[in-house]
Each structure stands twice: as structure tokens, then as C-alpha cells.
Symmetry: C2
Subunit: 109 residues, 2 copies
DNA sequence: TCTACATAAGCAATATTCTACATAGCCACC
DNA sequence: GGTGGCTATGTAGAATATTGCTTATGTAGA
């Protein structure tokens, strides 16, 4: 099973203790319409577990209810696999040029 | 304008002198059904220019015709922007652990 | 009161990507 | 002359992501 880039980024944020939607948006720079569908899906697929905070707490802090997410063991495992795959961007080796130019050798002291 | 991860990866391969579909598939690990639609789109959007190789050349090399792509100036610029954005994965800073301090009211003067 | 702003979650429509397959050229081998 | 193995490009339909909008609660200011 393969994770796409934004999904990996969300899991990475969760691994760094960003535990609810808005916080994850801040940490990743991803917009809400990207983050929330991803949270849905990874919850459904048991890569995270989720729970709503208590109304008391939200009311005390004077804001809308938050939904908190946490990585499961499966989520942590997949994140690790995925991180290594997304290094590809910086690992592409330049293909050798067809013709080798006459390189003038610098005069070594 | 924003580039997605696979699109950035394809541009990155082009920047490293992988100049046609099959070669880009090898360099990136992306499947044909991802690479070819991307090449179409970035061609349409003028991030690359393209041309078919000559039949003579293909025949000489005893293989099917290749279609060659090259980054335009616009493509190079967008790639550079995009690469920096995709470092986010390794730049998320762990959020400090929440200390449960006794909310002692400070002594107001 | 009305507007603006901030936090928080989410949906609808569209765009992009992925999985699986399709087609074709060229060769070698039997 | 049929089959299999490369090389090379491509398509269809399902799954994902993105853009822009919406709902909801509360604060601050004109």
C-alpha cells in the first residue's frame, strides 16, 4: 500500500505532535480541503485513531469543538516506509552527457 | 501556480537529462499511466517543448520512435520553486510537549 | 446592529494521479 | 508464421487531491 505525498505530510505532522485539523494545516501549509479528506481516509483505514474533545473543554477555551487524531502502530510503520520513498526527488542522478568535452586539466600545484 | 509531487519529480528527471517517457519512468519509478498524462499536460502548459525523433534514427537503433522533451525556461523556474516546497516533509518541527503546570495566578501588583 | 476576523470542520466540483490494460515496432527463436 | 521478450507510447475508469465555498461559534470594532 502506497501513500501519496500530501498523505505522508499529514502523517508526518501527526508524528510531530500536531493532533487536530487546523494545527496540521498550519504545520504542513496544506489547505483545509486537502487535510480533512485525508484525515477521513486515514481514519477509515486505521492509520490513525480519532476522538472529539469534550464540549466542556471547548467551551472553556471559547472555540468550536476540535477532533483529535493520533497515529496507530500501522500508521507509524507506513509513514516510515513512505518517508524513504519520497527522498526520490533529491536522489535522481544526472544522466551522463553523451559526448565528453575535452576538459582542460587544471595545473595542480 | 503549484506543481504536485509526481509532476515535480518528472520535471526533476528532465532537468537531469532524462528526455523521453520510458527513461523518465526508469529514473522516477513512476508508472506509464502517470508519466504520459503528466508529459501531455506540462507540454500543453509550455513547461517543456517536445519533438518526435526521426524515423531514420529509430530505425538505425532498431526500436520504436521516441518522443523527446526538454525543459523550457518557465519549466526550470517552476521546478526550482517546487523543489523548495517539497522539503517540508523533513522540516516539520516537533511541537513542544504540553507541560501541565498548576495554573497559579501571578501576583499582580 | 453590521462587518470583519479568528478558530474549527467539512462539502461540492473539478483536476490530477493510479491501476490495469492496450497497441505497436523490432528482434530472436523454434 | 507464431510466440515471447524487449522497447516505447498511450487510454479508461477508479481513487485522490485541490480549489473554493459553507457552517458554526465567539470576539472586537464602527
Amino acid at each position: 500500500m502506497k501513500l501519496t505525498y500530501p498523505t505522508t505530510l499529514v502523517l508526518q505532522a501527526l508524528a510531530h505532535r500536531y493532533h487536530y485539523g487546523f494545527d496540521i494545516m498550519d504545520a504542513t501549509g496544506l489547505p483545509s480541503g486537502t487535510v480533512y479528506p485525508i484525515l477521513r481516509r486515514i481514519d477509515r483505514e486505521a492509520l490513525v485513531s480519532s476522538r472529539w474533545e469534550s464540549e466542556t473543554e471547548a467551551h472553556r477555551a471559547q472555540r468550536p469543538l476540535r477532533r483529535y487524531y493520533e497515529l496507530t502502530a500501522a500508521g507509524e510503520r507506513l509513514l516510515a516506509e513512505s518517508l524513504s520513498r519520497y527522498r526520490a526527488l533529491h536522489e535522481i542522478v544526472p544522466r551522463a552527457r553523451r559526448k565528453i568535452r575535452p576538459t582542460r586539466r587544471p595545473v595542480t600545484p
